[in-house]
């Protein structure tokens, strides 16, 4: 497996860890080359024993050499490319053909544009199957490369990692950097300048429009855009009700999810939106934007509410509905939770089953 990063906080990193856990469950042996990670980060995740994870601390030449060496050595049933940026490295495999199939994971925004230049296009010849996290991502790729027929794709939605659930289910109530307000809306996201499409600004504006001034807004996650967003809250004269927590630990996050009145992330460009699943796990009603991959995750009116991206009036109205309509709230939070629990589409079991089909290996009986 060629990965960009395995141990970090972002969505792709978490996807990678879930993927590795699933491989472990299927007794599939993995050799992992991870470009960005450093040795010291390894301790942040308790990797399954069957994984051989090599880290390269951003050393691209070394990473490329190791990849080529591995491909030349041969003997893998599958080569899994975890990120489009690594795709050129497997082009070599087309000539040598010493391995089975090449799989590419398509997460979201990284493949929504810029994959049609001639180099990239050629590299796609080496890919046998694309694992696309959402239908939207698949369609965006096909818009750029019409030669990619639907048969070259499989929709491979994300799921909550088993170990994540294990840790969260057991999490003790922990202290948070601020006393939690009684009633608050929650967003969990990176706050990067380049990621203003996440819709935090819209939430702040909509919060200012709510008549109920006892509602607060808590944002977990850090990034260089925080001072700017603080300014925005100040401008709407609600900075006393908008709280930026920065990075929080998993157990702190669990508490935030568990106690929030609703989880709100009206993002315009979510490839999938694993945070929606996390919120659903804790029965938090979810409000998202009717855009991109979020549509696959949140069923409007069933497992959450969808609003038009950037429509702050609709957002304020949805927030009002979730806060005040008890029947609606309990319905969507129950349905949301069901979709990440046993039998639902976003469970780890369902994920493992999808992966077993791809690898064509038998499902192992679940550990007793």
């Amino acid at each position: 497996m060629l990965l960009t990063e395995t141990f970090g906080d972002g969505g792709i990193q978490r996807f990678n860890r879930t993927f590795l856990s699933a491989c472990d469950r299927l007794d599939v042996e993995c050799e992992v080359l991870s470009l960005v990670d450093v040795e010291s980060a390894r301790s942040r995740w308790n990797a399954p024993a069957s994984m051989r994870i090599h880290v390269f601390a951003r050393n691209k030449p070394k990473f490329a050499l190791a990849t080529s060496a591995a491909i030349l050595r041969g003997g893998y049933d599958f080569i899994i490319v975890g990120h489009i940026n690594l795709i050129e490295l497997v082009a070599l495999n087309v000539w040598i053909r010493r391995h089975g199939r090449v799989l590419l994971v398509a997460h979201g925004i990284e493949v929504w544009s810029g994959i049609s230049d001639s180099n990239r296009r050629r590299s796609f010849a080496a890919v046998d199957l694309i694992l696309s996290v959402s239908q939207y991502t698949r369609e965006r790729m096909r818009d750029q490369l019409p030669e990619l027929t639907t048969e070259r794709f499989t929709i491979f939605p994300n799921a909550l990692n088993e170990s994540w659930i294990g840790r969260f289910a057991l999490a003790e109530p922990v202290e948070l950097p601020i006393p939690l307000p009684e009633k608050y809306l929650l967003s969990v996201t990176r706050l990067d300048r380049g990621e203003r499409y996440k819709g935090i600004i819209s939430v702040i504006e909509a919060l200012a429009m709510l008549r109920d001034a006892s509602i607060h807004y808590v944002i977990a996650g850090r990034g260089e855009d925080q001072p700017f967003l603080q300014q925005v809250a100040q401008r709407f004269a609600i900075s006393d009700r908008v709280h930026f927590l920065g990075s929080v630990s998993d157990s702190q996050l669990a508490r935030l999810y568990r106690e929030c009145a609703a989880f709100v992330l009206p993002s315009g460009k979510e490839g999938f939106g694993i945070v929606f699943l996390e919120a659903m796990f804790f029965s938090a009603p979810v409000i998202a934007a009717r855009e991109k991959g979020a549509v696959d995750v949140v069923q409007d009116g069933q497992t959450g509410l969808l609003v038009r991206y950037g429509d702050t009036m609709a957002l304020a109205e949805s927030m009002n509905r979730v806060l005040n309509d008890t029947a609606l709230r309990s319905r969507i939070s129950a349905n949301g939770r069901a979709s990440v629990l046993e039998g639902g589409p976003f469970t780890f079991d369902a994920y493992v089953k999808r992966l077993a089909d791809i690898f064509n290996v038998p499902l192992r009986a679940k550990d007793a």
């Binding site: 300014q231 950037g310 304020a316």
Partner: protein
């Protein structure tokens, strides 16, 4: 067209009645026909009226509903009020024919939702005596102004910040730092800020509810998320032209509702020509049109405007001035602005308003066309600059170094542009007066405040996705520069002469349609306002439509190097004025020298500083304006 003012105090500690009456008086120019006051234990309302619809006393304000429950003060026009009347059945029938009465009944019937049904320009307040709650709203695009202040107990609102400042104990001598910074970057003060710390401007498309418990502000109309509709590309262009033309005619026809004589400004440009053509097509028999012509060839659109009037077949009134005559309007300009305002084209607007008022009470204008249909030259530039920001960093740095050494103004501008990241920043660079000049406000102000770039980025973050830089720029202009710059200018300039301006292109149905229109119908092949010009071709021959646009401004750059140089120097060195502002005075003077030397053009920024100093002189020191009669252009 009127002026309104009001106060609310939940414990009844209202300001003195005489003070309040003097505040209403400050709105005299906004309405010369009538005035009225109303009060109860918690509220005072005041109104100055310019009678345009229902000239009878039945249109007097503040107006109570027939049962006495609601009281309203209202500035503006509800153009579809006849249609609304047909859907309303007041218990005791209608008393008069004014749109004010219609508005009262609309609120009674539909509550806050009445806003969705109104088509017009308005700022109004309705006091519900039963619920003890005040409902205040401003029109969707921001044609009519509404300022307010709230200190936790006392709430005041009005058409001018100067009319409510005394009620809140506010003065302009301690300006809001962010307003000051943005003013020097943009030339106007974007809502919700005002120059007074204690006063705010209600943003367009918003309403407020105030009672003893809370003040709540919410948006009721939003153009920002309406995405361009790509399916329009599949329709024949002729169909789109027809649709646009008919929408404009509808908007104009609605705005012909009036019981007084009515005309239009005609500049020689596309927008005002379109309005006049639509007036004529709507059956106005002989609409009067007004143009200010200049003796100086470079600024004179007089002949073009006259030719357009002849082709369309309307009566045309021209007044010819020397450009420098406009300076005589400066004292009045400063007097009528309660906040510093730096758009020098306001002089021409005032002159044409003065001319029009001699003949009519209501004039239609073409404002809004540039923002909606892509009229400004910098829209295509924004796209080009934003492509440049994607060049490799090394290359940009190299070019920046080269351009920075070239002695010409444009090369220096280019050098500044090469430093930019992203489309919104590129747009801000093109719009902002500050360009790459060193900041003129003190470091403390810089630290406390957000820049225009921050404001634009915040706004752009909530637009429909996947817009080009030019489209983003148009939407930003629609949200900021149109209401807070141009519509403010038109409102103030026309009010100064008790003339009512109506802007058909700001009709919300047209705005929504323009948002859906893909960008290639606005900008195409270097041409601006592509589709609007096609529509105008139905009324005018191509050579009158596709002319080179002349600057509507006055020659500030040359004035500052010549006839106004000494006047400007006097102001810049008057420490009794400059010491009142948190500015880097040495930098200001250096910038002036740089401009006078001809090495750079910094006149928009310098003009903003000079207007700021004039404002301080008039409103704070309450002195006569520095006399530039002696320096006046020959």
């Amino acid at each position: 067209m009127c002026g309104i003012v009001g106060v609310f105090h939940s414990d009844g500690k209202l300001p003195d009645a005489r003070l309040f009456a003097s505040c209403v008086e400050r709105l005299r120019r906004r309405g010369s026909d009538d005035s009225g006051l109303w009060s109860d234990p918690n509220v005072r309302l005041g109104h100055r009226r310019l009678a345009v619809v229902d000239l009878s006393p039945a249109g007097h304000q503040p107006m109570e509903s027939h049962d006495g429950r609601y009281v309203i003060v209202f500035n503006g026009e509800i153009y579809n009020h006849q249609e609304l009347r047909s859907r309303l059945t007041p218990a005791d029938g209608w008393r008069g024919s004014s749109d004010t009465e219609t508005l009262l009944e609309a609120y009674r019937a539909w509550g806050v939702d009445c806003l969705q049904k109104l088509n017009g320009m308005f700022a109004f307040a309705i006091w519900d005596r039963l619920e003890r709650r005040m409902f205040i709203a401003r029109d969707r695009v921001g044609v009519k102004p509404l300022y307010y202040g709230y200190n936790g107990r006392l709430f005041a609102f009005g058409s001018r910040p100067g009319a409510i400042a005394p009620l809140l104990g506010a003065t302009g001598s301690d300006p809001d730092p962010e307003a000051l910074r943005l003013y020097l970057e943009l030339g106007y003060i974007p809502a919700p800020l005002s120059f007074y710390r204690q006063v705010r401007k209600l943003r367009p498309g918003h309403y407020m509810l105030i009672d003893a418990r809370a003040l709540n502000i919410a948006r009721y109309w939003d153009y920002r998320h309406i995405p361009p509709d790509t399916t329009l590309r599949n329709r024949p262009e002729g169909e789109l032209v027809e649709e646009l033309d008919s929408l404009i005619r509808q908007s104009v026809r609605l705005r012909l509702m009036s019981d007084v004589p009515l005309g239009a400004f005609l500049s020689g440009g596309v927008d005002s020509a379109m309005i006049v053509a639509a007036m004529k097509a709507s059956g106005v028999s002989a609409p009067k049109t007004f143009t200010i012509a200049f003796q100086e060839e470079a600024y004179n659109e007089g002949p073009e405007a006259a030719a357009i009037a002849r082709t369309i077949g309307v009566e045309h009134v021209t007044e010819t001035h020397s450009v420098s005559d406009l300076l005589a309007l400066l004292p009045m300009y400063v007097e009528e602005q309660d906040e510093p305002f730096a758009d020098s084209s306001a002089f021409a607007t005032m002159a044409v308003a003065r001319l029009a008022r001699r003949h009519v009470t209501v004039a239609l204008t073409g404002d809004g066309g540039d923002e909606l249909f892509g009229g400004y030259h910098y829209y295509p530039l924004a796209d080009r600059l934003s492509r440049m920001t994607r060049w490799p960093r090394g290359l940009r740095m190299l070019l920046q170094g080269v351009a920075g050494y070239m002695p010409n103004h444009r090369a220096k501008l280019l050098a500044g542009a090469l430093r930019l990241n992203g489309g919104v920043e590129a747009f801000n660079y093109l719009r902002s007066f500050a360009k790459d000049f060193p900041p003129l406000v003190t470091p403390t102000v810089l630290e406390q405040t957000a820049s225009s770039r921050d404001w634009f980025e915040q706004a752009a973050a909530s637009f429909a996705l996947d817009l080009t830089s030019a489209e983003t720029g148009m939407r930003l202009d629609l949200g900021f520069m149109l209401p807070d710059g141009y519509l403010h200018k038109v409102d103030t300039a026309t009010m100064a002469f008790s003339l009512e301006a109506r802007c058909p292109l700001t009709d919300y149905r047209l705005v929504e349609w323009a948002m859906r229109l893909p960008v290639e119908y606005k900008l195409r092949g270097g041409q601006t306002k592509y589709l609007l010009k096609k529509a105008l071709c139905r009324y005018l021959p191509p050579d009158q439509v596709y002319r080179r646009k002349r600057g509507f401004g006055v020659p500030v750059a040359e004035w500052l190097r010549g006839p106004l140089r000494n006047w400007a120097l006097d102001l810049l060195h008057d420490t009794s004025l400059t010491s009142r502002l948190p500015l880097e005075h040495e930098r200001v003077r250096q910038l002036f020298d740089l401009h006078v030397s001809g090495a750079r053009n910094a006149h928009p920024l310098l003009w903003a500083v000079l207007m700021l100093l004039c404002y301080v002189a008039r409103h704070d020191r309450n002195a006569e304006l520095p006399d530039f009669g002696t320096h006046k252009a020959a």
